[in-house]
């Protein structure tokens, strides 16, 4: 099995042409590969290292720098709760606490069924619409505990489909 889909690989090959060096598009490639595979597996790392003519060490150095990149599988829905200042002032910590309760997991943990993982994150640029949560890339804003509960239920249902 290929590390990433041919389609994604072809997309990378095209995008790489926009950069004067092979590694230019590396960070987005890592993120998009993670989106497809679920995490940055050894196979993905080896593939991208080859593609960018870097050592795997060098690719790992880059991966470990960026907080959105993971080398272990996460939940299908990654719930990221902002508790930075604007969210904290409007109940972000309560939202986090609520998520922990409802999901039964803590910071950087994944539910047994692999559906959810939880992470307390830094400012996600939703300060004026705080408190806010991102599930994968989707923003959920102006939250309350009730709304948060509904958000999680929504994804739980989606997972079952």
């Amino acid at each position: 099995m290929a590390a990433i889909s041919d389609k994604l690989d072809a997309f990378f090959t095209e995008k790489m042409k926009e950069y004067p060096t092979k590694r230019g598009f590396l960070v987005p490639m890592l993120l998009y590969s993670q989106d497809e595979v679920g995490y940055l597996s050894d196979a993905v790392i080896a593939h991208l290292a080859k593609k960018t003519e870097l050592t795997e060490l060098e690719v790992r150095n880059v991966i470990s720098y960026y907080s959105m990149l993971h080398t272990k599988p996460m939940g299908k829905y990654h719930v990221q709760v902002c508790t930075n200042i604007s969210c904290m002032l409007r109940g972000g910590e309560e939202i986090l606490e609520h998520c922990k309760q409802q999901l039964g997991i803590g910071h950087k943990q994944t539910t047994k069924d692999g559906v959810f993982s939880l992470e307390e994150v830094e400012c996600i640029g939703a300060c004026s619409w705080a408190p806010a949560v991102q599930v994968n890339y989707d923003f959920h804003e102006n939250l309350t505990s009730e709304k948060m509960e509904a958000v999680i239920e929504h994804y739980r249902k989606k997972a079952r489909q």
């Binding site: 004067p20 720098y65 959105m68 904290m88 002032l89 619409w129």
Partner: protein
């Protein structure tokens, strides 16, 4: 989608197309879109730069550096390609004003990049958007594709015979990558470690070529300046602080949101008129004027400030990123200081000693302090550590961590004292008396 808000005092320049469907290129064109780029094509590069200088546009990313001057630093002749790099890493706590621009008016950014390119002689631009803003990346990708399809980008832009390419790029979670030299490293596919300066990016930037780096809002202001004329833009604000700016109000405020107000707008009016005041009849305690990296104002100070670069510079402080955060009197300032430090500790790139070790040490001490384990000498130690970071780190992130910390210790020392010796946090009804940790000599 970010909710849009508005207020009568607003002067809509950058936000004039918000809510009007301008992501669609046809709509954008109907709303004067790409006229500025075409106008710029008829102008001499120096005239474009002069127009921007006249506008007294200053960087909206936080540092407030005069944009026209920055462009003027780019050498005319360069063996290596020149680049325009748009900083859409927006990660400064309290700041969410680039997001509506990228969401509502992506073409204004592209158009700004084209004009910047014409001004400095660059043929390529990159728009870097933080990884979390994936939906904005998708919007930008479509906008770029549409602009290419129309011939506004590519080998022969607007039929002028000139070439200009513009690409999108995305981060993957790192505040430090918003720092301009770390941004370039990230765009080159590396860890976001800042570069040694000088040389500055305008001379040696991306892949060694001269590079103009501007914030999304700065770049999005440019087409408007070209169309309306620099002077008109400048006249919106006080001298040397030209134009309007998007202010993101958040925290304890009745009407949070992003508002476009002229520079120099009184902070008091911003809080009580535009923002509708403090909720639940509480009293204002403190204001973060422009993202977590700025000196924090007491309510009294806040009520006298005008929101322009020089009013803050006069006090040796910073206007910052446009993220205005209000704190009411229920807020524990020790906890607030801790939350800010937790952020910087998490986001320090770790390259230099004072930032890496200082943020870690401060986070640990503030945590212990907030949990009731604080000792009197910790208060001075916190300030000592912050002072020793200030001005000594490799990049301004260390300063950014030190500044709010120092101002909180200075201005709310009594709150630190209230936490001393095992006493519970006075702002947290559920907090209990903690046992003092045994603190030995190490």
């Amino acid at each position: 989608m970010a909710e849009l808000t508005s207020h009568p005092d607003e002067i809509k320049v950058v936000s004039k197309r918000f809510g009007k469907g301008a992501t669609d290129i046809e709509t954008y064109l109907k709303l004067d879109g790409y006229k500025a780029a075409q106008k710029a094509l008829t102008m001499a590069p120096d005239d474009i730069i002069n127009e921007v200088k006249t506008s007294s546009l200053r960087g909206r990313g936080g540092a407030g550096f005069p944009t026209g001057m920055k462009w003027g630093f780019v050498p005319k002749e360069s063996a290596k390609p020149k680049y325009i790099l748009v900083n859409g890493d927006e990660s400064e706590p309290g700041t969410c004003k680039d997001r509506p621009i990228l969401e509502q008016d992506p073409h204004s950014v592209i158009e700004g990049v084209i004009i910047a390119g014409l001004a400095v002689g660059a043929k390529q631009g990159f728009i870097y958007i933080r990884g979390e803003y994936r939906y904005l990346v998708d919007i930008m990708r479509k906008a770029l594709a549409d602009a290419y399809a129309k011939g506004f980008l590519g080998k022969n832009i607007f039929g002028s015979g000139k070439q200009f390419d513009c690409y999108w790029h995305t981060g993957a979670g790192a505040y430090e990558v918003g720092e301009e030299s770390a941004l370039m490293e990230s765009l080159e596919g590396k860890r976001g470690i800042p570069r040694i300066r000088p040389p500055f990016p305008a001379v040696v930037g991306l892949w060694g070529g001269p590079t103009v780096i501007n914030n999304v809002e700065t770049i999005a202001s440019v087409p408007h300046i070209i169309l309306m004329g620099g002077q008109k833009f400048a006249d919106y604000g006080p001298p040397k602080n030209g134009g309007t700016r998007l202010f993101a109000l958040s925290g304890h405020i009745n009407k949070p949101g992003v508002y476009e107000l002229p520079l120099g707008y009184p902070l008091k009016k911003m809080i009580y008129d535009v923002g509708g005041g403090i909720p639940n009849g509480r009293k204002l305690k403190a204001v973060v004027p422009g993202g977590s990296s700025t000196f924090i104002l007491t309510a009294e100070e806040a009520e006298q400030m005008n929101m322009d670069f020089d009013s803050f510079a006069k006090r040796g402080e910073f206007l910052g990123s446009g993220g205005v955060v209000m704190l009411d009197d229920t807020t524990c300032m020790v906890k607030f200081a801790l939350r800010i430090m937790k952020f910087y500790q998490h986001e320090s790139c770790g390259w230099c000693i004072p930032c890496r070790e200082g943020t870690d040490w401060l986070k640990k001490t503030l945590t212990r302090f907030h949990n009731g384990g604080g000792l009197r000498k910790d208060i001075d130690n916190i300030k000592y550590l912050a002072q020793n970071m200030l001005g000594r780190t490799f990049c301004p992130l260390g300063d950014a961590a030190a500044i709010p910390t120092m101002s909180i210790v200075d201005k709310w020392r009594s709150e630190f004292e209230a936490h001393l010796e095992g006493r519970p946090c006075p702002f947290d009804p559920s907090a209990k008396i903690t046992e003092l940790p045994v603190v030995g000599a190490h």
